[in-house]
Amino acid sequence: MSNRATPDAATQLEIYRRMALIKANDERSRKVIMNGRLVMPYYSPRGQEVIPSAISVNLTDEDYICTIYRGSHDQLAKGLPLKDLWAEVAGRTTGTCKGKGGPMHVTYPAKGIMVTTGIVGSTMPIANGLAWGSQLRGDGRVTVASFGDGAANIGAFHESLNLAAVWKLPVIFVCQNNEWGEHTAYDKTSNVKVADRAAAYGMPGVRVDGNDPFEMYAVAQEAIARARAGEGPTLIEAMTYRFFGHVFGDADAYMDKARKADAMANDPVPRFRAQLIETGIATEEQLAEMEAAIEKEIDEAVEFALASDFPVVEELKRDVFAEEMA
């Protein structure tokens, strides 16, 4: 595609800040679990930092996202405060969901983080509804539905993309193709590129290097503009790679070692960092300072979380319905 938008210097820096935040938060998460300070099912987004970072700089707090268990990158990029996240995954009352949802169900409407789901394929049908709401109100908001390559084979994908196309909903379907669905390689489960499935619904489908911030930014901006203009949905297949096993503790023996080493050698975070310095957008000192600030914020969030209270057992009766149960 030609005439693609390029992020300006400030935006590039902001994309990098979000990427660095996601990477640092991932490293800390794995460390804290490893050290036994915290117990949670943890689905690392390491390697996939670019995608939500480059998308979300095109969004406002009023725009919506729906994401999945592997969603801390999407949530952080969309502005979820670290303290709220850490307290949630630590199961504390100070968490976004009072500790009741946990890492698979992080929700934060103040920043448009409307649903995090543990069911493959389920972001898409709900994202349509958020977008239908925007269409009805004419509020110009867009909704981003994140999901994995594995989710492109489930029924909900089909129904959702079709409905969005027929109703011209302001929604962007972002498939983060990290090559794996749990232990199964995408190639073993489909003969076709995910992006090529867009044609089955009469919607544009774009395959993009999801580890390239410039490409990702441009493709996202185009899709978001289309949606805001009332021109309907877009399917984006963002190619990336999952650096670790499916979930923390997964020995990942099924992943090809060379492919993985190669992906890690091309780690998008240090790569973009170097580029920013090279192109004069930032200095080493600036970035180091940014990263230090992130680390400090994470320190604080972890300590805040671990010092917070666990919910009382009466919480089992609350939030089941609007009215507390007897």
Binding site: K100, G133, L136, L163, D319
Partner: protein
């Protein structure tokens, strides 16, 4: 006549009063009139598609626009998902799943999402949707079109389940379901759509969770809902002739059901029969029976009886279909046996 009901009984009267279908239609219309956030979606729902296969939503899209009353592709997951999403941002969607058996393709959206998002988000979001669905034996639709699955949803925390048996209740429960801040499954009984009865007043509400004592009695309490009320009413009359005074409770809400009214009644009569069209084992009747036995231990005059559908898929052949669901005679016989025992 309509798509899923080829043989609406010939004796259906479009009466001056109102029928259940009209009650539901009026409730949705009045709610849409009052609140622009009330929207509706489902297969064939809008007027170019005749307002649904039975015409329950007829006239609504013409009046409120096809953007608010939308026909959809045959995509039940997408239908419920769209309802959930819109509800998260302040709309009050009414989603139709044409027949209750088709909830089976949307259970993830209903159970894992609609019912749970409030809790899992710690109360930050909630899902004020109504899911309309119809079901019931009587039209020879066979094994995949008639199941009553209310027990599944009643066993799911976070969703309410109602099943009206009269036009007034249909109106009042629909209004309450739309008002409700949480998801409500609204079960419509196909064969009773057209039975005329007292018309509802505009704005009428039937509180969710409140049963209705249709007939007072002292010897036995009959607890039923949906079409089973039509079988139970004549049973009450017949029992009276036989000198047995039966109290008939229309449960109206299956979850959360009205324990107070039911327990109080059975405490008085000492005998209870629960009647539903769903198959008996592990049905809603089991919960009611279990609670009655817990609450009234040692005070019952006879064991709680459950009358439900036969434990098989709904059969096609007429005599089998008729035998499948409890009938007036079964209720009478059960009550007589209880009183004698």
């Amino acid at each position: 006549m309509n798509a899923e009901t080829p043989m609406a009984p010939a004796n259906i009267v479009k009466a001056a009063k109102a029928n259940i279908l009209q009650g539901i239609n009026a409730a949705i219309a009045d709610a849409m009139e009052e609140d622009e956030n009330v929207i509706a979606l489902g297969e064939d729902l809008a007027d170019p598609e005749e307002g649904g296969v039975c015409g329950v939503t007829k006239g609504l899209s013409s009046r409120f626009g096809e953007h608010r009353v939308r026909s959809t592709p045959i995509s039940e997951q997408a239908i419920i998902g769209a309802a959930i999403g819109a509800s998260l941002v302040g709309f009050k969607p009414i989603a139709e799943i044409m027949l209750m058996n088709f909830t089976t393709v949307a259970m993830d959206m209903i159970v894992n999402h609609a019912a749970k998002l409030r809790f899992m988000s710690g109360g930050q979001t909630h899902v004020p949707i109504v899911i309309r669905t119809m079901t019931g034996t009587g039209f020879a639709s066979g094994g995949q079109h008639c199941d009553y699955l209310e027990a599944w949803f009643a066993h799911t925390a976070g969703i309410k389940v109602v099943a009206p048996s009269s036009p007034k209740d249909a109106y009042g429960l629909m209004r309450s379901a739309i008002d409700d801040p949480d998801p409500v499954l609204f079960i419509e009984n196909l064969p009773t759509y057209w039975s005329p009865a007292e018309a509802p007043e505009k704005g009428h509400r039937v509180p969710i969770g409140k049963a209705n004592v249709l007939s007072e009695g002292s010897d036995v309490t009959i607890i039923a809902y949906a079409r089973m009320i039509q079988e139970a009413m004549p049973a009450v009359a017949k029992l009276k002739e036989a000198g047995i005074s039966a109290e008939l409770i229309d449960l109206r809400t299956i979850a959360p059901w009205d324990r107070e009214t039911v327990v109080k009644s059975v405490a008085r009569t000492g005998r209870a029969i629960i009647v539903h069209e769903a198959v008996t084992p592990f049905g809603a009747g089991a919960e009611i029976a279990a609670v009655l036995n817990e609450e009234l231990f040692g005070r019952l005059k006879a064991p709680v009886r459950r009358l439900g559908g036969a434990f098989c898929p709904v059969p096609f052949s007429k005599p089998l279909e008729t035998a499948f669901a409890p009938q007036t005679a079964d209720i009478v016989a059960a009550a007589e046996a209880l009183v004698k025992s």
